[in-house]
Amino acid sequence: MSNTGSLKQEFLKKWIQGLKACSAKKKEMSIMERKKAIKLSADLAMASARNSTTYWSHTLMANALQANKNKFIVSDILGNDSDHGIKKSSMRVLATSHKNMRSKKILKKSCSISRRSKKKALGRCIARNLVNKRTQVLKRLVPGGEYMDDECLIKETLDYILSLRVQVDVMRHLANNATHAVSHTTTTS
């Protein structure tokens, strides 16, 4: 699929950029710090590939920006104007999402008042509860999911799954090649 191929290349480029920025900032890191840096740059690379067009990428970047120490990575990956751009768009995005949620909650409340007289089947109630529980879990998983309604959530999940897949593929390839290289060097020795 050419789409994922180009996405992979973009992700790889940005990830490497981020990793370079990490190493430039701090020469020696413990393994945990390294792991965090790798993960962070991978996540940010993934998010910047979407460039704030989706909620999840937006929240990822916004969360990363909140911790000051990550700012250099973000600015490196996204360019120097990223801080302002993200802050502005974050306000806008969150405002619209909150507005959507609020209006929908009002609508639902008004609907439920009129519907309370109806008798609902028990099975349907149970099914609805199950679905609600699971949507809440999903909201916790997908970054920025708490502010989304159902339909938006599923769209974001789709995109998020795609990007996660790409991320995992790239990282797995690198890890495999690293282990190959290591094993090769050990055998030659």
Binding site: S23, D43, V131
Partner: protein
């Protein structure tokens, strides 16, 4: 009536075959259409004809004496009529008779517009009208139509989803909006079904959501695990800031230093900073040791352009077929960037 409907079928079929051969990807066919050759094209035009030609997908059912006008309108909506009619002639004749009879009972009924699940961007204001008309449709016919619509709907996603109020369902704006919302959700769930492995076998929102949650959690855990693995394998970020050009200028030194670094890691259980510092002076001593491996692995080091572009393409394009190239390109990627 049977003769009438069969005439319609022939008429619409011939005109359809002549006019419509839209290029599009082959689509899974429902069992309804009997034309085998043109089944794909018919289905395609069924899905595609709506977009350019029919801003409002309307089927006008009129009273008995105005049967000629129905033929005209039906021939306009060729794809729909073909798929509908070809399903079963008997069904159509019975439904046509039913409609005509029921409509004869209510002479005041104006031609009702029926909105269908379609792909056009027309507003759904007239969906409220659909109630009266739908009350007349036989249940089986509506099921047939809905099934066809569903099959066609899966193929081309659109902005708008139009809802038909089925028999016995409320038609106030709230419930209609609810229904629209529900259909949007179900459409997206279908897309998710294709993405998430193992989701095709489950039906129902709750189970599918279960699978989706599992999958997302697995992917996230994989990312964590892989990042830890990579952190373990690549302790050295010292030369990380090197540009590719700088790397190309002096490939051997950096590459060898990069090569050297994973090697001691395997022996060391927990690479600390002191150990990392020890690795650096080892590079020069380890130089002859790594000659063979270096020559093997860095064939592509001479081509600066290929590294950034070619590696990406080689890695992803030739995935399982040529592991050697992948390994080599992977090495050069790895060691150019992760010194």
């Amino acid at each position: 009536m049977a003769a009438f409907s069969s005439y319609q079928l022939q008429h619409t079929n011939s005109s359809l075959l002549d006019t419509v051969f839209l290029p599009s990807s082959p689509i899974k066919m429902s069992g309804f259409l009997k034309e085998q050759n043109n089944s794909c094209t018919i289905q395609n035009c069924f899905s595609q004809c709506y977009q350019p030609e029919f801003p409002a997908n309307v089927i006008v059912h009129e009273n008995g004496p105005n049967v000629t006008t129905t033929t005209a309108t039906l021939s306009q909506n060729e794809p729909y009529s073909v798929t509908n009619k070809s399903s079963s002639l008997d069904m159509d004749s019975s439904s046509v008779t039913d409609k005509i009879e029921s409509e004869n009972n209510k002479p005041n009924v104006t031609p009702m517009d029926k909105k269908r699940k379609s792909r056009e961007g027309s507003p759904s204001t007239s969906s409220a009208h659909s109630k009266g008309d739908n009350g007349k449709k036989t249940k089986s016919n509506s099921k047939l139509v809905v099934k066809e619509e569903k099959k066609a709907n899966e193929e081309a996603p659109t902005d708008y989803i139009h809802v038909r109020a089925r028999r016995g369902q409320a038609t106030d704006s709230h419930s209609l909006a609810e229904r629209v919302r529900r259909q949007k959700i179900s459409e997206r769930m279908k897309k998710l079904q294709s993405l998430v492995p193992g989701c095709d076998k489950v039906t129902g929102k709750a189970l599918m959501l279960d699978e989706i949650i599992n999958y997302v959690q697995t992917l996230q855990n994989q990312v964590e695990f892989l990042s830890t693995k990579l952190a373990y394998l690549n302790p050295m970020y010292n030369d990380f800031g090197m540009d590719l050009d700088a790397l190309m200028v002096s490939p051997d030194d950096q590459n060898l230093s990069g090569l050297e670094t994973p090697l001691p890691n395997i022996q060391q259980v927990s690479p600390t900073t002191s150990q990392a510092a020890e690795v650096i002076p080892n590079t020069k001593s380890g130089y002859p040791f790594l000659d063979n491996s270096a020559s093997l692995m860095f064939q592509q080091a001479d081509f600066p352009n290929s590294i950034s572009q070619g590696n990406g393409q080689l890695l992803w394009g030739l995935d399982d077929q040529k592991p050697k190239i992948i390994n080599q390109s992977g090495f050069s990627t790895n060691f150019c960037f992760f010194h």
